[in-house]
Subunit: 405 residues, 2 copies
């Protein structure tokens, strides 16, 4: 059978809807991962207090935290089971599945990490970096999911969400590092620097978030910001400047943990709204596309199918009707092209920067803020874009046979 222009108009609309439905599924997966990261962050902070106090504080809470993580893992598993691994491939499926494999493997390393924490057979900094690595792998999955979007409004929502999640993770690292220091009643110079860098990096991520977020999320975030207490700022100042904080170690540490946890839980509320906005955006786009598809089918139903033989002369009125439908579908898609191209470029650049940072972190033992500063300084010195520097670094690494994750 020879396929006609209208067959492909219909197929185009159908593919558009399928793509949006897959994005909705991605949105739900990202939501479940956001919750999993949230409880992992809390488990990391709790482990830091437990290890920092030589097992005196919060030993009883460790198993509760682990249980919360397991529940969140199950929710992620449910979303993963909804993915059809053998059927319809999604855009970017191979990269996405590869990231999911990384996530699942990282989760399988948690039981042995927990056993070491419980037995106090691991140092606090080592435990912290292992938890942070697990969380980093989860964030990389969210980033890859953002790259599957072929719709500008959804891309925008995913970029806002990813940037916010990155900022929240840096805030949670600040909590964990501070908790360890207050518990041990000691902050060395390196920790001061790490804390300062975490504060600067957080602000950078939230700045990106504000560029892409919708007004409701922005308003909620402004509200959260104005709620940051003076107590929190005082704690921050002590952690960043003093070697030995005053007061009873466990009391101060627990108060720090409560104050920062209130802040991070506030961030989670913004993140939940971002997630709602994301899935609502997908649902709205699906409804729009389905409605457009119905109209399309009605109009096509009114067009008599002509003899598909090549030499057939098609009545001009009929040809115009078909042309209108062809152009309508084309216009709807192409209206998004310019914006999507810009977002894709933004994403591609960020991806390269993230990978270059990963390289510096893995092979040169840098923290995320250090890696970012290194790249930024190189870019400023050479008067180039951050992504160009990252690109050059990855090319060199490829030649030297090192791999970035």
């Amino acid at each position: 059978m020879t396929l006609s222009a209208l067959d492909f108009v219909l197929a185009s609309k159908r593919s558009e809807i399928t793509g949006l439905q897959q994005l909705l599924q991605m949105g739900k997966l990202v939501g479940a991962v956001s919750q999993l990261i949230h409880v992992l962050q809390r488990e990391r902070g709790t482990a830091n207090i437990y290890l920092g106090s030589q097992g005196k504080t919060w030993g009883d809470r460790l198993s509760e935290r682990a249980l919360q993580v397991q529940l969140a893992e199950q929710a992620v598993s449910q979303q993963l089971a909804a993915l059809d691994l053998h059927g319809q491939p999604m855009a970017n499926a191979s990269r996405l599945f590869s990231r999911i494999a990384g996530v699942l493997h990282s989760l399988s390393t948690l039981p042995s990490l927990r056993a070491q924490v419980q037995a106090l057979s691991i140092q606090q900094p080592d435990a912290m970096s292992r938890y942070s690595e697990v969380i980093r792998i989860h964030l990389a999955l969210v980033f890859e999911a953002a790259d599957t979007s072929g719709d500008p409004s959804v891309s925008r929502a995913l970029l806002a969400m990813f940037s916010f999640m990155q900022g929240k993770e840096l805030a949670a690292q600040e909590r964990a590092l501070g908790a360890a220091g207050f518990t041990a009643r000691h902050f060395d110079e390196q920790t001061h620097q790490q804390l300062l860098a975490l504060i600067v990096s957080q602000e950078r991520c939230f700045q990106t978030f504000t560029e892409f977020a919708d007004p409701r999320c922005l308003a909620l975030w402004q509200q959260q910001l104005s709620a940051d207490s003076s107590e929190f700022e005082r704690f921050r100042r002590i952690a960043c400047t003093r070697a030995t904080p005053s007061g009873e170690a466990s009391d101060v540490a627990l108060r720090w943990f409560d104050v920062t946890t209130a802040r991070i839980d506030g961030m989670k509320i913004v993140e939940d709204l971002l997630e709602d906005v994301l899935t609502e955006c997908c649902r709205q786009r699906i409804r729009d596309a389905e409605r457009a598809g119905e109209l399309q089918q009605q109009e096509i139903g009114q067009i008599p199918r002509h003899d598909p033989h090549y030499a057939a002369l098609i009545p001009p009125q009929l040809s115009r009707s078909v042309l209108e439908l062809v152009e309508q579908q084309s216009r709807q898609l192409q209206a998004q092209d310019a914006e999507l191209a810009g977002l894709r470029t933004t994403l591609a650049e960020r991806k390269v920067v993230e990978r270059a940072k990963g390289l510096l972190m893995q092979h040169h033992g840098m923290s995320e803020p250090q890696a970012h500063k290194t790249l930024r300084d190189m870019a400023m010195n050479q008067n180039k874009k951050l992504s160009d520097i990252a690109d050059a670094m990855l090319s060199v690494a490829a030649v030297l046979g090192k791999s970035a994750s």
Copy 2:
């Protein structure tokens, strides 16, 4: 059932292979479209000579040209029938199918155009612009196909092919315009300018081609270039500068047509090699991925499946084996990321420029070279990138409610 990291490693490899197989299919479709464009170009030139000679020359050849186009259409139809419209969606499927709908509709307008040409009831410039529009729609499909690639080496081959096809189309427009002028024994000032612009634009396209083409194609192209005859250059000079060429009109026109056709047929040989390189590149990448997939499965077969219960402690050696496989798949994909990001940016920028040119051509009646010059002059005056200017133009057009195709 809970899915494991290894399930997703396998799914990632499977998706990679599926994506490459779909690219191979795209490559074959592009090859069939290349042939269809080639015979459409020849039909356009023949129609120009027929119309320019008031029906005295080549009336007998018109039906032969039409038959060749119909054969090429059938080959394209076969490739389209191989696409699974209801099953596995491809990356970028909605845009691709929308372009195919445009192609099929444009082909359905040919019988009535041919009837008008045959009856001499259409002016030569109008017939030429209708043929050129049909060809432009075909080229837009090739461009969209280039955007489906998630593999840098294939993207590179597709970009080289697309740029070359654009250049060849401009060479064929030069042939058709010259044929009309030599037949009518008259070139007005506007035609001189059009011909000059077509020559400059051709060189620009072939320059892009040389940036992305593989060495074999480049060598063949160099060989073609050195074969351009002095007779061809003399013809070009006359067409671009003289108002009334000397000699018997039909003899000169037919000689011009032969000389330029030899040149364009030479280009088709390069294009065929580009097509071979493209499909061979896809096949090679499929073989590589399949081989890697087999090795992966062998290694996975040697790993005992562990109890997927969350709290299970996994033996360290087992965990390391899984990690190696997870990272191997991740490395293979990410090695391509930096290059792919660059190619995607290139493609996205070109897409925006093509659309802005389309806008100028449709709504301001410009030719392709004029539209390009307009954009380039604006970019130079404002000291901006061509794609930034195009982007700004599309944004303005979107606000004004005009659509670009």
